[in-house]
């Protein structure tokens, strides 16, 4: 659930989603759910000439399983905090296994 929480902190930031079919969509992150499905507003497709079918689309809902990368604005990410949280979750999981 860590990355679910992490993405929730990025709501209202401009992100670029790269799908597994190489489609790149840039837009404002509106919401994210526990499957990491993503909703973007005011989208534009990075290579619009190749994907004309999205030119009349203003907002999208992207299924989490088809996302390859999320390109984030570097200044919106507290890397140290994220690293700490990741380690904490890993150690919690390890502790839960040995219990």
């Amino acid at each position: 659930m860590l990355f679910f929480s992490f993405f929730k902190t990025l709501v209202d930031h401009e992100v670029t989603i790269e799908l597994k079919n190489d489609l790149l969509i840039r837009g404002t992150l509106k919401s994210v759910d526990q499957f990491l499905n993503i909703k973007l507003d005011e989208i534009h497709v990075v290579d619009e000439a190749r994907y004309p079918h999205l030119s009349a689309v203003k907002s999208v809902f992207i299924r989490g399983s088809v996302v390859r990368y999320v390109h984030l604005p570097a200044n919106a990410v507290d890397t140290a905090l994220l690293e700490d949280a990741t380690r904490r979750e890993a150690s919690n999981a390890a502790a839960a296994r040995t219990r």
């Binding site: 919401s31 499957f35 004309p52 079918h53 009349a56 203003k58 907002s59 992207i62």
Partner: protein
């Protein structure tokens, strides 16, 4: 989300549902994993997804889409929709063009994957178009 559901929905269900709620009864473009695009009005959904009254070049009637096949749902801006300079073509023409584009893409992907494998990257497979 398969299997027996508890009598009450877990609270995280609502986060998913709420996101699709505001797309219901809107004109959408649904991109499927096989590369097809369905345009229609979203009438109903559950953890999976239903699209009603869909058409592409060919009127399709009612479509029920299983969620795993969905790439994305795009809400169509009805004002911008008419300004798109698309050329209406016959079904045969479009299908022939599509087959050619698919073949080119398949070839590109093959080369791409071969190069990635040579560099020691795991193959992503051929699932997505």
């Amino acid at each position: 989300m398969e299997g027996a559901e508890p009598p009450t929905l877990p609270p995280q269900m609502f986060t998913t549902s709420a996101q699709l709620l505001d797309l219901t009864d809107k004109k959408l473009l649904v991109a499927l994993r096989d590369g097809r695009k369905l345009i229609g009005v979203l009438r109903s959904w559950d953890q999976r997804l239903y699209v009603n009254d869909s058409y592409c070049d060919i009127p399709r009637g009612v479509f029920i889409v299983r969620g795993e096949n969905v790439l994305l749902l795009g809400e169509i801006d009805l004002d911008r929709e008419d300004d798109i300079p698309f050329r209406q073509a016959s079904v045969e023409e479009v299908f022939a063009g599509q087959r050619q584009a698919d073949a080119e893409k398949k070839h590109r992907d093959k080369v791409h994957r071969k190069k990635l494998r040579a560099l020691g990257f795991e193959d992503e497979g051929e699932v997505l178009v």
